[in-house]
C-alpha cells in the first residue's frame, strides 16, 4: 500500500517540474528586489511621507487578488467544459490565495487611510466593492465546506465561481464610474505616478504575481494529494469491509 501511495502522491505533483522549482526562486528574487526598491531606492513622497511606501504592496496585493479571481473564473469554465477534477482543484486553490491577497489589500489600505484620510474605513465605492469581493470569495469557500465532496460540489463551486467574477470588473472600474476619494493609479493617459516610483511599483506587481502563482501551485498540489488520500482511505475501508 505504501508503494502505491507514494506513486499516487508523485503523480499528483509531477506536472510542470520547471515551474515547481523555478517559480519560488523567481518569486524570492523579485520580492527582494521589490523590497529594496520600495523601501530604500524610491523617493519619499512629499505630502504623505514614508507611509506612502505601503502603496507599492497595496496595489500589488490588489492586483494579485484580481489575478487569482480570474484564475478561479477560468478554471470554473474549464471545469464545466471538461468535468475534470483537476480544474476544480485549481479553482479552490486560487480562491484561497485570492482571499489572502484581497485581505492584505484591505488591511494595508486601511493602515494607509488612517494616516492619510484620518479614518480606518470609509464606504467609498472602491473600498465597498473590494470588501464585497472578499465576502463573495469567502462565501465560495464556506459553500464548498457545506457541500459533500464530489462532482456536485465541484459543479456548484464552478457555477458560483463564474457568477462571482462579475463583481471583479466592477471593483476595478468603480473609481471611474462613481466619484471616489480613492486615488486612481491607472488612468486613460497611463500611470498617474511619479516616474521615479514606477520601478518599485512594477517590481512589486511582478513579485506579488509570482508569489501568487507559486502559492496557488503549492496549494493545488496539496489539494490533489489530499483528494488522493481521501480516495485511498475510501478504498481501504471498502476492502476491509469485504474481508469482513
Amino acid at each position: 500500500m505504501n508503494i502505491r501511495l507514494n506513486a499516487l502522491a508523485g503523480s499528483a505533483t509531477a506536472g510542470l517540474p520547471g515551474l515547481r522549482f523555478g517559480l519560488p526562486v523567481l518569486a524570492a528574487a523579485l520580492l527582494l528586489a521589490a523590497l529594496t526598491e520600495a523601501l530604500v531606492i524610491a523617493p519619499t513622497e512629499a505630502a504623505m511621507g514614508d507611509i506612502q511606501r505601503i502603496f507599492y504592496f497595496h496595489v500589488a496585493a490588489a492586483w494579485a487578488a484580481f489575478l487569482a479571481f480570474f484564475i478561479v473564473f477560468a478554471a470554473s469554465v474549464a471545469y464545466l467544459r471538461t468535468k475534470s477534477a483537476r480544474w476544480d482543484v485549481v479553482a479552490v486553490s486560487a480562491a484561497e490565495t485570492g482571499v489572502v491577497f484581497v485581505s492584505i489589500a484591505l488591511v494595508s489600505g486601511s493602515i494607509w487611510a488612517r494616516s492619510t484620510w484620518g479614518t480606518w474605513w470609509t464606504w467609498d465605492p472602491r473600498l465597498t466593492t473590494t470588501f464585497l469581493l472578499w465576502l463573495i470569495y469567502v462565501s465560495y469557500l464556506v459553500m464548498r465546506s457545506m457541500v459533500e465532496e464530489g462532482q456536485r460540489r465541484a459543479t456548484f463551486a464552478a457555477v458560483f465561481g463564474i457568477i462571482a467574477f462579475l463583481d471583479v470588473p466592477i471593483a476595478f472600474m468603480s473609481i471611474r464610474w462613481w466619484r471616489t476619494m480613492h486615488p486612481t493609479v491607472l488612468t486613460g493617459n497611463g500611470f498617474s505616478v511619479e516616474p521615479a516610483m514606477l520601478p518599485a511599483l512594477f517590481l512589486s506587481l511582478a513579485a506579488f504575481s509570482a508569489v501568487l502563482l507559486h502559492l496557488t501551485l503549492l496549494r493545488s498540489m496539496l489539494e490533489r494529494s489530499r483528494q488522493e488520500v481521501t480516495e485511498l482511505r475510501r478504498r481501504i475501508s471498502w476492502m476491509e469491509e469485504r474481508r469482513g
Binding site: L132, M143, M146, T155, F156, F160, L166
Partner: protein
C-alpha cells in the same frame, strides 16, 4: 400537482418538441403549475408577506420612517424587506419539486433544461411581484411616499428581475444541500449586493422626484446586471440540474 404536471407535459408532447413556440409553451406550463400550486397552498406568499410586514414594522420603530429619516432610511428599508422576504419565497422554488418527486417529471420532459429555468424563474418573478404589490402600498402608507412615479416602478421591476433570476439559480443549488436555509443567503446576498445598492440608490432618487437623467446611472447598473444574469443563468442551470437529480 401531478395531474397538472402530466397535463402540461402531454400538451407539449402533442406538438413537435422543438422550436421557440413549444419551448414557450413548456415554460408557460411550468409557470401555470407553480402558480396553481401556490394558489392552493399559499404557503410561500403568505409566509414571506408576514415576514416583510414584520421587517417594516421593526424598521419603522428603529428609524422613524414617517419623520426626518424618510428619505435617508426609507429606500434601504424597502429593499431589505423585499430582499429578505423575496429570499424566503425563493427557497420554496425547488423545495417542493424535490420533496414530491416533481423533478424527475421535469427532467423527463423532451425539452432543453434552460427552458425549465425560464419557467421556474418566471414563476418566482410572479410570486415576488405579488409580494411587492402588497408591500409597496404599505410602505407608501408608513413612509408617506407617493408610489405613482414611473421611475420607481421601473427601478423595482429591474431590481426584482435580476435578484429573482440569480436567486432561482442559487435556490436550485441550495435545495440539494443539507443546510439549505443557510446556503441560499450565503450565495445570493454577496453576489446580489451591487444590484441591491443600485436599486436603493435608484429608489432614493425616484422618491425625491428627480428626472430620468438623474436616474440613469442606477438604471444602467440594474440593466447591465439583469442582462448578465439573464444570459449566464439559464446555461449554468443546465449543469446545476444534472447534479440535482442524483
Amino acid at each position: 400537482m401531478w395531474e397538472a404536471l402530466r397535463k402540461s407535459t402531454s400538451a407539449t408532447q402533442a406538438q413537435p418538441a422543438d422550436g421557440f413556440l413549444s419551448s414557450l409553451g413548456f415554460a408557460l406550463a411550468i409557470v401555470a403549475k407553480d402558480v396553481r400550486v401556490e394558489l392552493r397552498s399559499r404557503e410561500a406568499l403568505s409566509g414571506s408577506l408576514v415576514f416583510a410586514l414584520l421587517t417594516l414594522v421593526i424598521f419603522n420603530f428603529a428609524f422613524d420612517l414617517g419623520g426626518e429619516m424618510k428619505e435617508t432610511a426609507g429606500p434601504g428599508v424597502l429593499w431589505v424587506a423585499i430582499v429578505l422576504a423575496g429570499m424566503m419565497g425563493l427557497s420554496y422554488v425547488f423545495a417542493k419539486e424535490r420533496a414530491q418527486g416533481g423533478l424527475e417529471g421535469l427532467l423527463l420532459a423532451p425539452m432543453d433544461r434552460s427552458v425549465i429555468f425560464i419557467g421556474k424563474a418566471a414563476g418566482a418573478l410572479l410570486l415576488t411581484s405579488a409580494l411587492e404589490l402588497f408591500l409597496l402600498p404599505l410602505f407608501a402608507v408608513f413612509a408617506d411616499a407617493s408610489l405613482l412615479s414611473p421611475g420607481l416602478i421601473v427601478i423595482v421591476v429591474l431590481g426584482t428581475l435580476g435578484f429573482v433570476t440569480v436567486g432561482t439559480l442559487f435556490s436550485a443549488m441550495a435545495v440539494t444541500t443539507r443546510s439549505r436555509e443557510l446556503m441560499l443567503p450565503l450565495l445570493l446576498l454577496p453576489v446580489a449586493i451591487p444590484l441591491i445598492i443600485a436599486a436603493v440608490e435608484g429608489t432614493r432618487i425616484a422618491l425625491q422626484g428627480q428626472s430620468w437623467g438623474e436616474l440613469l446611472p442606477a438604471l444602467s447598473v440594474l440593466a447591465a446586471f439583469d442582462a448578465l444574469f439573464l444570459t449566464l443563468c439559464p446555461p449554468l442551470f443546465e449543469y446545476v440540474i444534472e447534479e440535482m437529480a442524483s
